[in-house]
Amino acid sequence: MDIWAHHSPIQAPDQTRRRIRRLQLGLTMRGGQGAARALVLQFTNCRILRGGALLREDLWVRGGRILDPEKLFFEERRVADEQRDCGGCILAPGFIDVQINGGFGVDFSQATEDVGSGVALVARRILSHGVTSFCPTLVTSPPEVYHKAPEAASLPEAAGDFVIAPSLDVHSSNWFVVLPQIPVKSGGPHGAGVLGVHLEGPFISREKRGAHPEAHLRSFEASAFQDLLATYGSLDNVRIVTLAPELDRSHEVIQALTALGICVSLGHSVADLGAAEEAVRSGATFITHLFNAMLPFHHRDPGIVGLLTSDQLPPGRHIFYGMIADGMHTNPAALRIAYRAHPQGLVLVTDAVPALGLGNGRHTLGQQEVEVDGLTAYVAGTKTLSGSITPMDVCVRHFLQATGCSVEAALEAASLHPAQLLGLEKHKGTLDFGADADFVVLDDSLHVRATYISGELVWQAEETRQ
């Protein structure tokens, strides 16, 4: 990964670096030796998104990967084994959601006995929204949600700022830890693939905590990165960490996380532009839900928003920023300003709460209650927005309509840009030859008709089943 080249004063232990490489490979190890004998599928009568344009081409798939048909014709001298007519639809790379807190009643941050089945349920249900890969997001939670606190007798000497966690929760949920139960996993008929966990907090600003519980916020105190490790335990399954760069010693932490291959995101922060630029120079590459939970744009100090057009970033790099394009978290005019200022960096996220896909009423998010009313979800009893319940395909349609951008740009914002953010653009978020065959069949109004993972049909809309 490119970001390794920039900063790594704190060397990651070899083991962790190997783990990162295994993590990346594990997501891309498809095909293998049996690939050449696998069936060749040809999707015809469609328009595919390739190279930023919708081309009138057929999509060829073999062994779960996109195949180069010219190579197949001239080198292997083969034709397709099976042809599928797509009815003139658009074939786009599967959407990637890098910020989703739960859905369908499942709360990823809630420590339960069987977190895995909750993640699996969400993974399966979001296939109908066209999402083929996602990052389950954990909001600010007590440490025992992230890792199991050791027994008192076996406390290591360098406990530091360990919170031993006498039981805060009478339901003895301190026995169930969440983070180790969400491993990286490939997608398939069982559901969308898990790319890794997005840890949003607890190292965020008190003033901009939004819906995050104040009691569990933390800062880097004595030992910076060790403090972070102490809170999270193992970083094995972690893909993105959101933190506030104005916290003391954050640049060390950002450098350490970047060296481990973890994407660092700025959010829930009152940082000014200078601190934000410093953080980007240390390795941060993402902004969590732009405009929300940060200082508003000011013409003399644009704050984190100013990163979109900052000229102080390392050369050749640009910042990615998540936007919740549901029409509520951001005014469409603000969405347009951000898009026009920096179209290449826009990443569509849902920031969906467990109420996604459920009806009106009260539901649980992290350690707090939220109230769903129609299309909005608030922290119970307040007017603070508590995440959105807009599915990804609705976000894409709303984004297209609000910005007036091209269909290609809207689709790339939900697929290619998140893949680029995570350094996976060779395998995900694209329909180039050799990429994973995760794609979504859309009609002209960008409604999802079918979802494919590894070239296999994993979801189909009702009317197309007949």
């Binding site: 057929d58 180069d68 048909p69 010219e70 190579k71 197949l72 014709f73 001239f74 292997e76 001298r77 083969r78 034709v79």
Partner: protein, 331 residues
């Protein structure tokens, strides 16, 4: 006298090229909307071999109004020939095919420049998609390929043939032969190509175009008229003309190519040369109004028993009025 179909003049025996009754009757006679009773009188088998032979030896130059009509005429001719041949499991129709610059398609308006077989390929694809023509029992041999250009380079002839023809039709990949410009032993590759043509039984119809300098395939001026498939160095004119398709960088333009020889094309049972556009007019003049000359290699086909030159009005600009009138049938 029944009015002729507007814009098409063919000096042929009237019943000669109609689609035989019972075989692909969906379109009228190639280039002519009339259905005369003479053809029907020849019975359900339709066109018999003798009348076909007669018609071919009388036809030399076919002049259409514009590039689109010329492409359509050529495509219909190829289509008819394949269907009349009745290809099958043990009886393949062997077709020789031309290529051209892929970037022409993207950057320029084709009908302005003419001179590419693309229109012909598009029409053939259309006939295939309509269900009128199958390439299942057709073998193709392409004329040439650059040396040293990666097979998947957008300007390679493999890419051109794949994007503009092969991917739209039902040809068996084992039957589509193109010279490999990246072979380790180039002469052996050429010899093997000649051998493959021979083993297939020789080419039934070789379709080609010409360059502004009168070359056929990459047989540049000065090439032997009895040459076989071989490695050729490209003329400076050709390299300069090609530069714009390689980002204007002369160092990126291939300087050598593998090409079928003039003799190889002359061995085909039938040859059809497509010539469209005013910039080919002088080459056409040299090809058919002057003598056989190795500086204008396409002139060798004056000595081929069955050659058709299909051109548009612009390509006849350098011909004598007398020649044009003769072939248009106006006496």
């Amino acid at each position: 006298r029944r009015p002729r179909r507007a814009g098409v003049y063919i000096r042929v025996l009237s019943f000669a090229l109609r689609a035989p009754v019972g075989v692909a009757p969906r379109w009228p006679c190639v280039g002519c909307a009339r259905r005369s009773s003479v053809g029907r009188a020849s019975g359900p088998a339709g066109l018999n071999f003798l009348s076909w032979k007669l018609c071919i030896t009388t036809m030399r130059l076919v002049i259409l109004d514009n590039y689109d009509l010329a492409s359509e005429w050529a495509a219909k001719y190829i289509c008819n020939r394949i269907i009349q041949f009745k290809p099958g499991q043990d009886r393949y129709f062997i077709l020789g095919l031309p290529t051209d610059f892929s970037s022409y398609v993207k950057k320029w308006n084709l009908s302005v420049l003419g001179s590419t077989p693309l229109g012909c390929y598009k029409k053939l694809i259309e006939y295939h998609k309509n269900g009128d023509l199958s390439f299942k029992y057709v073998k193709t041999f392409n004329m040439d390929e650059y040396v040293g250009l990666p097979r998947n380079h957008p300007e390679s002839y493999h890419s051109y043939m794949w994007n503009n023809f092969f991917k739209h039709i039902d040809i068996d990949p084992n039957n589509a032969h193109i010279l490999d410009g990246n072979a380790t032993d180039l002469q052996a590759e050429c010899d093997a190509f000649e051998k493959k043509i021979k083993e297939a039984g020789g080419i039934d119809l070789f379709v080609g175009g010409i360059g502004p300098d009168g070359h056929i395939a990459f047989n540049e001026p000065g090439s032997s008229l009895v040459s076989r498939t071989r490695l050729k160095t490209l003329a400076m004119d050709t390299i300069l003309a090609n530069a714009k398709y390689f980002d204007g960088d002369l160092s990126k333009v291939p300087t050598m190519a593998l090409t079928v020889g003039v003799g190889t094309v002359m061995d085909a049972r039938e040859v059809m040369i497509l010539i469209t556009g005013a910039h080919k007019a002088f080459a056409l003049y040299k090809a058919i109004e002057e003598g056989v000359n190795h500086m204008w290699t396409v002139s060798a086909f004056q000595q081929h028993p069955r050659t058709i030159f299909v051109c548009d009005e612009d390509a006849t600009l350098e011909l004598r009025v007398k020649t044009v009138k003769y072939f248009k049938g106006e006496h």
